[in-house]
Symmetry: C2
Subunit: 337 residues, 2 copies
């Protein structure tokens, strides 16, 4: 059943049907009604593929991430999705691509989207497209929005990690803690990105403002951001510096929960003996006892803005490059009391 069959049934030409389907040109109310009735009766939907071939564009917004199964990713996606509903343009399909952590698949995916003209705009989460793909995107006028990643001349939305860390550590300092430890990921490596470094910057800034000195014995580095590493981190910190009475776990909530569990095993009281603030605000943070104070990533909001930008740019391709920076929010719970 195609557009010509419908036309035949209605006694018009396929041109007329197409116009009705797309609300273009001028069609008499009468024929319009007749044709629409036939379309409805036959449950006819035009072939998306043919539509796209003819239009020369994919008609969908692509979302590319390294995998699907992560609370972070699915929350961003939800933000994207919900705002697509908000605009009333939900007929615009959102298609998701995962690179499965492989660089090869990543390059392939971007090239396919770009050169295969699959999408009208691309939202990229924590990945950098390869040069060839970027050229292709530019050439085809497909806007690219980077989330949690940056490239010269490309629009991006990032989290203000410095400010998030600063807020957390300032809070700890203001509540009277003098020995505030920092747990963060590996820094100084192109691969890991600027996040751990930025959070350390915020930490140091807050210490300085509070008149406290940075102390190497209060710095702990983790690699995988795991619960187990958090447990070990506390042991290491205490072995090096018994005065530790506060911890900002820039390595994330999972890690912070490890710290908390280990502390409880050791009979350390939270927050009396040691107060703790994590990063992310994962669901479990609100469920444990005491609740884990944390810096909430504006994940959902990032997704929303990304979609809005994607649609705007897809429709008006001559705007300046924009780098949106969103401030994260400090969530105080009992662990930082």
């Amino acid at each position: 059943m195609n557009i010509r069959d419908i036309a035949k049934l209605a006694g018009v030409t396929h041109t007329t049907v197409s116009k009705i389907l797309n609300n273009k040109g001028s069609i008499s109310e009468e024929t319009k009604k007749k044709v629409l009735a036939i379309i409805k009766k036959n449950n006819f939907y035009p072939s998306e593929a043919a539509r796209r071939t003819s239009l020369g564009r994919g008609g969908e917004i692509a979302f590319v991430s390294s995998k699907y199964a992560s609370p972070f990713i699915s929350t961003v996606l939800e933000g994207v999705e919900n705002s697509s509903y908000g605009t009333g343009k939900y007929e615009k399909m959102l298609s998701t691509y995962s690179t499965r952590g492989s660089n090869e698949i990543k390059d392939e995916t971007f090239m396919k989207i770009a050169a295969g003209r699959l999408a009208d705009a691309v939202i990229v989460l924590a990945l950098k497209p390869n040069e060839d793909a970027m050229k292709e995107f530019k050439k085809s006028g497909i806007p690219v929005i980077l989330l949690e990643s940056r490239m010269k001349g490309v629009d991006s939305i990032t989290v203000d990690n410095v400010s998030g860390a600063y807020d957390a550590v300032s809070y700890l300092a203001k509540s009277g803690r003098k020995h505030i430890a920092l747990i963060r990921g590996v820094t100084g490596n192109e691969e890991v990105g600027p996040v751990p470094h930025d959070r350390e910057k915020g930490y140091k800034k807050a210490l300085t403002e509070a008149g406290l000195k940075t102390d190497k014995s209060l710095l702990e580095e983790v690699i995988e951001y795991t619960f187990e590493e958090g447990r070990a981190a506390l042991d290491n910190l205490l072995a090096r510096n018994k005065k530790t009475n506060s911890i900002f776990c820039a390595a994330g909530d999972i890690c912070a929960l490890g710290v908390m569990q280990r502390a409880q095993e050791l009979g350390i009281k939270i927050p009396q003996d040691i107060s703790i603030i994590g990063f992310d605000d994962i669901p479990a943070a609100a469920l444990v006892k005491p609740g884990l104070a944390t810096v909430k990533q504006p994940v959902y909001e990032m997704g929303k803005r990304a979609f809005t930008m994607a649609v705007d740019y897809a429709e008006n391709k001559f705007l300046d490059t924009v780098n949106v920076v969103i401030k994260p929010e400090l969530i105080i719970r009992a662990s930082a009391g």
Copy 2:
């Protein structure tokens, strides 16, 4: 840049290029090499849309769920995704659709996929496609795989909720508990599906086998499956039956965590005074103290099987209807000690 431009550059016709692109027909090694080199040099990728129009099929596997942001959903998706790479087929072509909880969007989405011939197979999570769409899928020979949902004559993969509940309650009974409460969702309503009912069935079966009687005062019903409801549920249960010394929270881990938190507030010792088993195995279940014993949903496995079935059926459309039932696994942690 299209297939003809490439052909011109290589001094052949577009037919030859097409054959090379699709590994069809017989082409001399020499021309093949030459053409591939030119394709690579120009970063050429064929237009997906044109490809699909010509082939008459979408070439992708569709995954439809009511939203994206849920650990359950993203884990299923991960299972699907990982097995898609395992087969080496449909590698980059898994497209996801979300109905955003709206029935209208749901119907629209299915019709678009079905009649618009977007996909070669459809995996549906916890949703029922409308009749019209199902007809269309049948007509176009697009296989549909239902996850956590069932329809007559449609392939499905479901969790054996009876067995999961049975295992949990049997465990509690064997560890000597005589007053085992059940917290479950609303039953008897077409809308909510058979899950709460099935879990209650497993609960009753286990009680009977253990020589225990079902006791109305030990049954608590929740609606939203929230943490708060879990807290209230414990209060209600204790108000009705002070002997309650064990709880199977069929309403899920979030709810069970609410029960645990409230118990700790009331000075009730877990598992000594009351032992608890939840359902789902969300990440937080392993992180709280004591660890929450639970029935682990075989979510990842469901995703994997779904994909395998989808691909098999897309390639050989004349198989019998299959209803796969996967048994969930009881995970014992300290809360059920």
